[in-house]
Symmetry: C2
Subunit: 317 residues, 2 copies
């Protein structure tokens, strides 16, 4: 396994808005920065349909905004590595101040500080059939897979911004979209709710409120789901070609645990106002902190984490 000779000032794990903002701030402070992202720069922003709440970008799209972010990062001398980090730990004894070791499939990299910005992944429904039909009708990303369901019947599960914006996106492609939500009302922005109601009137979207998905059925591909009434527990079956799950997100905190970083009850990384964790030299930003799961917050926390890392490095000199 190749060990890179260079010791970076800061290794940023995750190339979503938090990681990218941290990279920009760190680079402008003159730090040697390496940014790891196993997938596409932009993180979950890439999976967003319309975005209209990050100040300065009126009615943009996930991929478009993501591209702008990546261009910004690439205007600085930041080493972007398209590799997933598989392990992160203190180099030397914990607390010895020897910095950190970050491993990918391609080798090991050393850094004096770390910014954890791995974000969160979709939460599964955890019902029978979900794993079996994943990629065979079950999806967690409308912008990724929506096109395969052109002219077909699909469902979206959830009541937040992601669920409703994805349902709207899908309603342009699919024959009909069924929104399934366990509660009687949505928690999504009024803007999304209004647009969903308009589509309901057009017959493009149908609502199944106070319903839970209890099973996904099919043969090679899924072909139906079983719904349960949240109150009466009565069950019904819906014939569907696909189902998109947007019921929340779970932090990707494996590396945080390896580093000995304290987590909240829900598994998010505990940070203070300066985005510092309990481990000196380890900072965190974005969805992984479980604060406000918004681009604006990820960008601000990334900036804060980088500035705190900079102060840490200066005081360690």
């Amino acid at each position: 396994m190749a060990v890179s000779q260079k010791v970076f000032d800061v290794a940023i794990v995750g190339g979503g808005p938090a990681g990218m903002s941290a990279a920009v701030y760190a680079a402008r402070r003159g730090l040697a920065v390496v940014l790891f992202e196993g997938k596409l720069l932009g993180g979950t922003v890439n999976e967003a349909t319309e975005i209209d709440n990050y100040l300065g970008f009126s009615k943009t799209h996930g991929m478009e905004l993501s591209k702008k972010f990546a261009e910004h990062v690439k205007s600085f001398p930041i080493e972007v590595r398209e590799e997933a980090v598989v392990e992160a730990r203190a180099a030397g004894a914990a607390g010895a101040g020897k910095g950190f070791s970050v491993k990918t499939a391609n080798g090991e990299c050393r850094a004096k500080s770390v910014v954890l910005a791995m974000g969160a992944k979709f939460q599964a429904l955890n019902v029978p059939g979900e794993k079996e039909f994943a990629g065979k009708g079950v999806s967690y990303c409308a912008t990724c897979d929506g096109y395969f369901f052109k002219g077909k019947r699909v469902a979206v599960v959830g009541g937040g911004d992601s669920a409703l914006s994805s349902a709207l996106y899908l309603s342009d492609l699919a024959k009909e979209v069924l929104i399934i939500h366990r509660r009687g009302e949505f928690r999504a922005e009024e803007e999304w709710q209004k647009r969903v109601q308009a589509r309901v009137k057009e017959g493009k979207i149908r609502l199944a409120l106070k319903r839970n998905v209890v099973e996904i059925r099919g043969k090679q591909f899924m072909d139906s789901i079983v719904l349960e009434d949240a109150e009466t527990k009565a069950r019904t079956t819906e014939k569907l070609d696909g189902i998109f799950v947007y019921v929340g997100s779970a932090p990707l905190s494996m590396l945080a645990k390896q580093l000995g970083v304290e987590l909240t009850e829900k598994g998010f990384v505990k940070i203070n106002d300066g985005c510092s964790t309990n481990v000196p030299g380890v900072f965190a930003a974005g969805d992984i902190t479980g604060k406000l799961l918004q681009i604006a917050m990820a960008v601000a926390q990334g900036a804060q984490a980088a500035l705190s890392a900079y102060s840490f490095l200066r005081s360690a000199k």
Copy 2:
């Protein structure tokens, strides 16, 4: 005095990045929003020279970014009033839940909640001659007044990002720029420091470190300043046509006090993670909170404040 009949859901005081982001988030939640800004939408962003650390906008300028922000705001049904708020107080007895009254020179306006986003203003040097020659050589905004000093000799006081970026901006216009800083090193981003050093080599910028400005002198206009060595206390005189002061910012918290909002020792508005103040229905965001004086943070806090105001309004129903 005209009393507007309409009761807004949220009145936002201040049209900088924090106030504008709050307006966008509130509007997307379907709230009736009024935004007050006595000067130009954009706040202190308008006074910034180059901006390269708000993710997504590579190498932009203050006025340019500000314009993008304003366009974004104007794409929503947000009532923007170009009026300075002169008074804010609880309508009815404090804590009675009757909402708030916000007054401008043109009248009174009622709202169920308030977001304080008045920002911070420049801190003065507080030395003899400063007030006397304000606007007569003494300035707090290089982008506003820099042009008047074309081909002349000016000084910039301070060691942070605003000071150094303004000195660089002025060095393109002025004959020579003297940077005066009370410490031996700058706290500005490495990027600005490098560029200043390059200009020092070119003879466009000269440094006076560990020096304090103790007096500003002149007749109709300022013509010189007195510097004091921070260690030896020895005094010298510099002949100058102008001086730009960037020694920090002070929160604009008068309205916060009127509302009974708790402040920190330094006069910033005390907020919790949700950008709530101690007064139910009053939220705060941006520089006035004294957290991280960066656009990214103001935008994130604006979003948070609006979402908290939304929750407040829903639970008050």
